[in-house]
Point group: C2
Chain length 231, copies 2
């Protein structure tokens, strides 16, 4: 059950990056340094760095060194990223308004989806996000109180629920569906669109520590929002 050295090195480096000890662009110990530090051969140290490079965590340049890779590669599509970051990356201004933030009980479909006791309460938030003052997303989120007990105490105009949850419950698995759907009256009102304007709806569940951490519905006006990516 011993962890092989190359994995120890990988995990150590990942931990240092996640903890913020090593930031984007920072220089990472060279193979030679790792050889001395971990008492391994150069092949072993190299393997750790090469694999992290293949996973887009590090960038290596011959003759120069190894560095922490830029942001988060938008590998695919439904990358878990904060809507705030996304908007700021487009050079626009993000703002948000908390519409609802409270407990819910007796939501059968939900406790079911979260594999919780049917009587347990769930934390709920409904937040409206703006891009340059224009409503761009209604975020309805149900959160497992066992994994994020402090959820209702957050100031979600300063940090997005997504960012907060990533901190307290590092995600482990995700599933999602994307649909085109008509908004309910509430959503249409929030987004300031007509009742018959199509919306792009992302439904997503995230797992942490083997349990469902949160269920979220993201509603976007079809006319103003799209998912995109490449691979």
């Amino acid at each position: 059950m011993k962890t092989p050295p190359y994995l120890v090195i990988k995990n150590d480096l990942l931990a240092r990056i996640q903890s913020g000890d090593l930031k984007e662009g920072d220089r990472v110990p060279s193979e030679t340094q790792l050889v001395a530090q971990y008492n391994v051969s150069r092949m072993t140290a190299g393997r750790a760095l090469i694999e992290l490079m293949n996973e887009h965590v590090l960038i290596r340049t011959q003759g120069s060194g190894t560095f922490v890779a830029p942001p988060k590669f938008n590998s695919t599509l439904v990358e878990i990223r904060s809507i705030g970051d996304e908007i700021r990356e487009r050079g626009h201004v993000h703002s948000s308004k908390v519409i609802t933030l409270r407990h819910l009980t007796g939501e059968g479909w939900l406790t079911d989806e979260m594999s919780l006791n049917p009587k347990s309460t769930v934390l709920f938030s409904r937040i409206l996000h703006f891009e340059n003052e224009i409503p761009i997303q209604v975020e309805m989120r149900w959160v497992n109180p066992g994994l994020a007990p402090g959820y209702l105490e957050q100031d979600f105009t300063r940090i997005t629920p997504s960012q907060y949850l990533m901190q307290v419950a590092p995600l482990q698995k995700v599933d999602y569906r994307i649909e085109a759907s008509l908004p309910g009256v509430g959503v249409a009102h929030d987004l300031q669109i007509g009742n018959y304007e199509p919306c792009l709806l992302l439904h997503r569940r995230t797992w942490s520590q083997g349990r469902v951490a949160s269920v979220v519905e993201l509603w976007h006006p079809g006319a103003r929002y799209q998912f995109s990516g490449q691979f």
Copy 2:
């Protein structure tokens, strides 16, 4: 500019898999066999196999051997897969109807998107796909004639355009957008839905040999179709 041996081995194996020489579940040459065949050390042969395993192309089992991995895990979302395969995997019946199949000229936006000479002609197809006799997708596709000259001669009720293109122009890069949008009258008619029913639209470009191979718009009735996945 010499390709390193571990890459030669990787590419050879990938080619054999893509060509169908090695199929899902087939046993792949062992490290020892590769050592003899390519005249390399075991570390080098191993590296090729390990990297292909990390890329989910192969599966290795200690004591047993190395095998071609099951289909293609729906890594993310907008996997390039044939709608036919997708429907069959659900245990349903796929059928399709070719509505249009012809040349087009003078489509400025398109030659632009394909980086072609504005006057060159483009191959076009419009195909309606059914799942259990119910219309589920309108596929409008524009194809670069330089990369798939025989496109108009195919029988697209037997092979999907996607499958055909994968054969003649192995893809290299993809980008896509997903939108929620109202169908045009033609699309609404084909899908047998109302003019105000939201549609899920996937817009995708594929590259091959450094050029745009095809541009496609896939229209789906929002009520009957969704994208899904996990990671």
